[in-house]
């Protein structure tokens, strides 16, 4: 049944599929650790994807494209920053506005670029490491941005854990009143965090349009920004777990694309999907203190989700599973993960408005 799917290739494409979400999510993680909830990730990503794409096409250099994407993401996030930090607007509403605005802006900018092909961005064949059998092609033969993404995650972990500035950022996020009283610049810290988040989201978007697809299309991101937000929750705001979450989603995406291509028959695939869901749920619940309870809820949710997918399918007898139902799986997986990981470890001041009265 799975004969047409090469597991090696599957694992190799997993890292590539995960990179856009990973980049966007690590940026948002820093933003949220500083106490700001920016729901505009999708808008910043799509802006980065088109600006980066245009820059890459006009200069012929994908690297310049990535730089332009990061700058544009930071610039558009500054709109959000000014509104929420200086004009004290509601963060949820402003984030939504940023998404709606970004989607419109990208559609406007992208008019002349639909269907154009991006300049080539060759893979890096890392000497020695890339020659290791099995592991080499899976881990060490990707394009450089995959490793840039990993480096950013490592950098963020180091910054938050080991530096003084990272400590200040966390303090601002946990309790902005106290941080303010200690003399830290709450607004400045948050603006910098928001811009970093914007730059990362821009990079993630550009990775989609320059490397992954590699062309520009309207609604190219298709919810990747929102999935990135979910992964931050999944990761309990910790960089290490974020990496795992992003690769998990990369895995789901790659698997469903491969299944689409292979045209696997319905009962098999349903079995496979629910098995994966339960397996993932079980893995996650191992981390949690109340293991039994969360395992139980995970299994029940997986069963319900499997059931809801079943009902429309059963009426279609045993026909091959339709592409549409497979395409749903990343979103359903996101919901499942959100259910299992109830938000624990959120920064104390997340989403609250800071106004220094004195």
């Amino acid at each position: 049944m799975f004969g047409s799917i090469d597991p090696l290739l599957l694992l190799a494409s997993l890292m590539v599929a995960a990179t856009p979400i990973l980049l966007a999510a690590i940026g948002e993680l820093v933003v949220e650790r500083s106490g700001v909830l920016n729901l505009g990730v999708e808008g910043m990503m799509i802006t980065g994807s088109i600006v980066g794409f245009i820059a890459a096409i006009t200069t012929g250099s994908p690297w310049l494209g990535f730089i332009a994407a990061a700058l544009s993401g930071a610039a558009i996030s500054l709109l959000f920053g000014i509104l929420t930090q200086y004009l004290m607007s509601n963060q949820v509403a402003t984030g939504l506005a940023l998404t709606l605005f970004g989607l419109g802006l990208a559609a406007l900018l992208g008019q002349g670029y639909l269907g154009v092909k991006a300049p080539a961005f060759p893979d890096w064949h890392i000497p020695l490491l890339g020659d290791i059998p099995v592991i080499g092609p899976i881990i060490f033969q990707h394009d450089p941005m995959v490793y840039v993404g990993l480096a950013i995650v490592a950098g963020v972990w180091w910054f938050l854990k080991k530096t003084r500035a990272g400590l200040v950022l966390r303090a601002v996020g946990e309790n902005h009143e106290a941080a303010h009283a200690l003399g830290y610049h709450v607004v400045r810290t948050r603006l910098l965090a928001i811009m970093f988040g914007g730059a990362c989201a821009g990079l993630g978007g550009a990775y989609l349009s320059i490397v992954r697809v590699p062309t520009y299309a309207d609604s190219l991101t298709a919810g990747a920004g929102w999935i990135a937000l979910a992964i931050v929750v999944f990761a309990s705001w910790k960089p290490g777990r974020l990496l795992l979450g992003a690769y998990l989603f990369g895995g789901v995406t790659v698997l469903q694309l491969n299944l689409q291509a292979a045209g696997v028959q319905f009962p098999v695939i349903l079995l496979a999907l629910s098995l994966i869901a339960v397996g993932v749920a079980g893995l996650i619940s191992l981390w949690r203190k109340d293991r039994l309870k969360s395992l139980g809820s995970a299994v029940s949710v997986a069963l319900v989700a499997g059931g809801t997918i079943c009902i429309p399918l059963l009426s279609g007898k045993m026909a091959p599973l339709k592409v549409e139902y497979l395409s749903m799986s990343p979103y359903i997986a996101t919901i499942l993960v959100l259910v299992i990981m109830s938000a624990s470890g959120a920064p104390g001041s997340l989403g609250k408005i800071f106004h220094a009265s004195r």
């Binding site: 509104l83 709606l100 419109g104 406007l108 979910a230 220094a356």
Partner: protein
């Protein structure tokens, strides 16, 4: 040095003035945007805001105002309930699609039976129930597991879009449609059509939106539930102490907004859109978020905001055909409007004070 001072109470004046200032600012910056795109700015604004209302062909555009405004108002009314209480349903687009699918499913199952007294009410019920049920997913998950309703409701939009695609190409495909995607035409099936007077743009969605405005107004002006919603948004702790059940409130707000979005979807698919097709939904569920805020989460305000937003859709089409203004420019315009509104709103809650030489 300019400083902001929190007002003890939101300013009455700015509550009304902020949307107007925001619209004016958006027009100015929108005109600049149109200029950048190489279109005559003033003429473009005229095409968007004047032509559909008072132009030569307004007999054609005015009915469109009802058609485009009704779903926006209906959805925004539902959203405003939750937004007031701090419950963020941003997946109205999904509830709109599922409502349309459920209602259309009833009609298609009974085709070609002629019994309007039975079929149309059943469709309305199915549409409302479909939207309600789809909104209950984030609702129940939030109440039972503390799951973030923003992300879940949004993820379900993508799921609903895929479901719509599979229905339009599969189960609901017109068997006499020569292989083209899309269902039978419901607006031409007299027992299922939501039209009341097609030439004037009157359909049941308009009626539902207007009834919704009246009910929402009464809810907030007279009913204890409306008070509880406001209380939960402004002072959650006070609400909890006064015995407001957060779970009940979440389910009520999400359920009502889902049902309204579902009804909007159903009346759209059985009237203006006509049939279930892959792309019958045009993003009203997202634009309604702007409508809700622009209308200050107030039923009457939403009515006006919905009309204005419908006007930008229609005027955008006019400007597209006469000036070649890209469709996406209107999307940017609408996004800008929400940005300006949120920015200007600082004046509602804060007072600007000029301070002298104080060390911060």
């Amino acid at each position: 040095m300019i400083a902001l001072e929190k007002r003890p109470q939101p300013s009455q004046f700015w509550t009304f003035a902020a949307p107007i200032v925001a619209v004016i600012l958006t027009m100015i910056f929108g005109a600049a945007l149109f200029g950048l795109l190489g279109k005559p700015p003033i003429e473009a604004l005229g095409k968007i805001f004047w032509e559909p209302l008072f132009g030569e062909f307004n007999f054609f555009y005015l009915p469109q105002l009802l058609i485009k405004g009704a779903p926006l108002v209906a959805i925004a009314l539902g959203l405003s309930l939750g937004f007031k209480a701090g419950i963020w349903n941003i997946g109205a687009e999904g509830q709109y699609i599922i409502g349309a699918l459920c209602g259309a499913g009833v009609a298609l199952a009974l085709y070609p039976m002629e019994a309007r007294w039975l079929i149309f009410p059943a469709m309305l019920f199915a549409g409302a129930f479909g939207g309600f049920a789809w909104a209950m997913i984030p609702g129940v998950l939030r109440v039972k597991f503390g799951t973030n309703e923003i992300l879940v409701s949004l993820m379900l939009v993508y799921v609903a879009e895929q479901l719509l695609a599979s229905m339009a190409l599969g189960l609901m495909k017109n068997p006499e449609g020569f292989g083209f995607p899309g269902s039978r035409n419901l607006s031409q099936y007299s027992s299922a059509s939501s039209w009341i007077d097609q030439s004037n743009g009157m359909h049941w969605g308009v009626v539902i939106a207007l009834i919704g405005v009246i009910f929402a107004y009464i809810l907030f002006a007279k009913h204890i539930l409306g008070f509880q919603i406001k209380l939960a948004g402004q002072a959650p702790r006070a609400a909890a102490f006064s015995g407001v059940s957060p779970a009940r409130l979440i389910l009520f707000c999400l359920g009502t907004s889902g049902a309204l979005a579902g009804l909007a979807g159903l009346t759209e698919v059985a009237g203006p859109a006509g049939l279930v097709s892959i792309d019958f939904n045009v993003g009203y569920g997202f634009t309604a978020i702007i409508v809700a805020f622009l209308g200050r989460l107030h039923p009457v305000g939403i009515l006006f905001a919905g009309a204005l937003m419908a006007l930008t859709y229609i005027g955008g089409d006019v400007a597209q055909s006469s000036l070649g203004l890209p469709k996406a420019a209107i999307q940017v315009f609408q996004g800008m409007l929400l940005f300006f509104l949120l920015g200007v709103d600082v004046l509602t809650n804060y007072r600007v004070r000029i301070k002298q030489g104080v060390v911060a």
